[in-house]
């Protein structure tokens, strides 16, 4: 429904966003991941019609939105990275103002304000001024303000930066709820892998203005080499056993942990039986055996050679 075609933005001579192609299908929840300065916010601002691209296009249902973005704006809810609210006004007054600016019908607006306040869990604090709110509460109202006009597409730019776990969970829940029960299409920007893993069906990974990988979570994970990390819980500790494991075929590395061992090995279906066999010989019981699931964080590390947050 919404797609970018070779979307590019340069500030002076610096290419901040470089020929980005991405798309959103109706009802999807898509993540845009990238470290600081990758160009996520710039990309989002172009999609949201706030910045004019240097070149490329943003298309809504196949139609360019660059010249006349008003149709796009109507269906779009944008949660900016910064708190875009009037500090001197109360939560209610802010929502009322933006609701009116969106030309929500008067009768509908009152109901809608209470709905979105309910969604972000701040109904009982609506009379208080924004400047008296905590960072997390501000972020929640920041989201509420983007929902007043029932947008079909919701774009969130790092909505959980620097806030308490309670607010964070609330925000993630709200977004999931919108996507799953109301069918809102979501584009979610973050540099928190676990959020994107939880929320999104599909992920774009961005670095230095370029998309360096894309796909479902599983597809991205398969990028990782064919290695497994296995955690083994043992009934007792034994140096002899550890040494023995190290000599097994395909085992690359063995580490002792408080509970037992962490083994890094090439994918090998016979590893478990070899382990059990060796343990029996040493009189050790294997209490637990678990192949650790690699995370997108690992994928990112693999692709860029750096962690998402440094």
């Amino acid at each position: 429904m919404l797609e970018t075609v070779k979307l590019t933005k340069s500030f002076k001579d610096k290419k901040v966003v470089d020929e980005i192609n991405l798309y959103l299908q109706t009802g999807e929840s898509v993540g845009l991941l990238g470290p600081n300065g990758a160009g996520k916010s710039t990309t989002i601002s172009m999609i949201a019609s706030l910045i004019k691209p240097t070149s490329g296009d943003v298309k809504l249902n196949g139609k360019s939105t660059i010249q006349n973005p008003s149709d796009l704006r109507k269906m779009l809810g944008v949660v900016p990275q910064e708190i875009a609210l009037y500090e001197e006004l109360s939560a209610y007054e802010n929502l009322k103002f933006f609701g009116k600016a969106y030309r929500v019908e008067k009768e509908t607006l009152e109901v809608r304000i209470q709905e979105v306040l309910d969604m972000v869990g701040l109904k009982d604090r609506q009379k208080e001024l924004i400047k008296t709110f905590s960072g997390g509460m501000k972020r929640r109202i920041n989201i509420a303000a983007a929902l007043l006009h029932n947008p079909k597409i919701l774009i969130l730019d790092e909505p959980t930066v620097g806030i308490d776990p309670q607010s964070r969970n609330h925000i993630l829940e709200t977004v999931r709820e919108l996507n799953q029960t109301q069918g809102t299409t979501v584009l979610y920007t973050s540099h928190y892998m676990e959020e994107v893993e939880q929320l999104c069906n599909r992920v774009y990974i961005m670095d230095h203005g370029k998309i360096i990988a894309t796909g479902s979570k599983e597809e991205l994970l398969s990028i990782l080499s064919s290695e497994d990390t296995i955690g083994v819980q043992l009934s007792k500790r034994s140096e002899a056993f550890t040494d023995k494991i190290k000599t097994l075929p395909d085992v690359l590395q063995v580490e002792q942990t408080s509970e037992g061992l962490r083994i890094m090995a090439k994918k090998n279906h016979h590893l478990l039986s070899s382990l059990v066999h060796a343990a029996e010989k040493e009189g050790i019981q294997i209490m637990n055996y678990k192949v650790e699931i690699p995370s997108l964080e690992d994928v990112f590390l693999h692709l860029t050679g750096k962690t998402l947050r440094d």
């Binding site: 601002s45 949201a48 019609s49 706030l50 910045i51 004019k52 008003s70 704006r73 109507k74 779009l76 944008v78 900016p80 910064e82 708190i83 875009a84 609210l85 009037y86 500090e87 001197e88 006004l89 007054e93 009322k96 103002f97 933006f98 009116k100 600016a101 969106y102 030309r103 001024l129 303000a145 983007a146 006009h149």
Partner: protein, 421 residues
């Protein structure tokens, strides 16, 4: 649109500091200036003077002498009787006495009755400040001068032991009175009805002299008008500065995304600046009037006219505010925008004579000053205080509205369609 106006007013209302700044500061400044300057000019004691009039002239003899002189002129009998009738109505000595006892002078001049010798004594020991001496032949000479066009020698002299501000003011006042009487009669004899009155310091306050017999305006009135205008002008910037915060905090982006018409945003600012500057000026005027009675005994018409000019000026302030707002949104560097608006406001303030009177400056600068909205408003209001001619207000009002329209048109044309470019 209503939402935008309400939002802007509400934001301002919540900002107590700015409210206080905008409303109290001008009042405070006017009160302080008023006290500072009244200390210089309003020294009641120094301006209280006691005098005595010593009359050496014999009025009856003077009249007879004048009649003889007319006789000797060889005029036609009609002319003769006209001149003599005129002279009968005119008693120069009595005029001086009436003048010195008039209500205008009573406030600071007390006339005491003494004989010549006693009076001289009293001046010496400081009981009297001055003696006004009406010399012998005063009646005759005055009449000959006024009615027959003869040159006169005898004039009223003021004798004082020491020169004081009070005495020299009295000197000026008496001379200007005599001059006025002279012109009045000179005009009167040509059949022109003239009602000029001498310009007198009111209540001993410093008076900025008005021309053409206009009502004088006091320095307090000047302060009130100048400072009130200046602070109302500041309101244009105060309101538009809010835009900087809106832009920085991306609130403006959010507003853009609502597809609201640019006019809504601009009108929000314009109306806020309009209402706030009127409110600001009205409160300042009311409080200053109640505290200091700056405009005593003014009619309802006076206040209504004042209000009309203020409304026109506030409209201009609204237009400027829209212009600064659009500029802030148009330029990528918000500091540059605020720099420009500060420059404009301060430039207007200085050129328009809001900081200090322009009277001492070269003519061209004064002329430019009259074309600034605040300078024009100030001039219009001061003229209104002096003359109360409604016609004089028409030009300033149309000019101010014109400035508003131009500012607003420019604002709409530079209003950005997107956030950053």
């Amino acid at each position: 649109m209503g939402a935008f106006i309400k939002k802007d007013l509400l934001v301002f209302w919540r900002d107590r500091k700015e409210i206080l700044m905008a409303l109290l500061l001008p009042i405070l400044i006017i009160v302080i200036l008023n006290f500072a300057f009244s200390g210089l000019f309003k020294d009641e004691k120094a301006m209280q003077i006691d005098i005595s009039v010593v009359q050496e002239d014999d009025v009856k003899k003077g009249m007879e002498q004048f009649a003889a002189a007319v006789e000797a002129k060889g005029l036609s009998s009609e002319e003769k009787s006209a001149v003599l009738a005129e002279a009968d109505k005119l008693d120069p000595v009595q005029l001086i006495h009436d003048f010195l006892n008039s209500s205008d002078l009573k406030e600071w001049v007390t006339v005491k009755d003494f004989s010549e010798k006693e009076a001289a004594e009293q001046v010496k020991n400081g009981e009297l400040d001055a003696i006004i001496k009406i010399p012998e032949g005063f009646t005759f000479e005055s009449l000959s001068h006024v009615l027959l066009g003869e040159t006169s020698q005898g004039s009223v002299t003021i004798l004082a032991e020491e020169e004081s501000a009070g005495v020299s003011t009295l000197q000026e006042v008496v001379h200007s009175f005599i001059n006025t009487v002279n012109t009045q009669f000179a005009l009167g004899s040509k059949g022109v009805q003239a009602t000029a009155e001498p310009i007198l310091p009111k209540g001993g306050k410093e008076v900025v002299e008005g021309n053409d017999g206009a009502d004088a305006y006091t320095i307090s009135q000047y302060f009130t008008i100048a400072i009130g205008t200046l602070f109302a002008l500041f309101m244009a910037q105060t309101v538009s500065l809010k835009t900087m915060t809106e832009k920085r905090e991306q609130v403006f982006n959010r507003i853009l995304l609502t597809n609201s018409h640019p006019l809504s945003f601009l009108i929000g600012k314009t109306v806020s600046a309009f209402i706030l500057s009127i409110l600001q000026f009205a409160i300042t005027l009311t409080v200053v009037q109640l505290l200091l009675n700056v405009f005593p005994d003014k009619s309802f018409t006076f206040w209504a006219g004042l209000m009309v000019v203020l409304i026109a000026f506030a409209l201009t302030v609204g237009g400027l505010s829209a212009l600064f707002t659009a500029l802030t949104l148009h330029l990528s560097d918000t500091n540059a925008a605020s720099g420009i608006s500060t420059l404009v406001i301060m430039g207007f303030g200085v050129l328009g004579g809001s900081f200090f009177p322009l009277e001492g400056l070269p003519e061209p600068i004064q002329k430019i000053g009259e074309w600034t909205p605040n300078g024009l408003t100030q001039t219009a209001l001061i003229e209104w205080v002096q003359y109360s001619h409604f016609n004089d207000l028409l030009f300033p009002i149309s000019f101010l509205m014109g400035v508003f329209i131009i500012c607003f048109a420019i604002s709409v044309s530079i209003f950005p369609k997107r956030g950053r470019s």
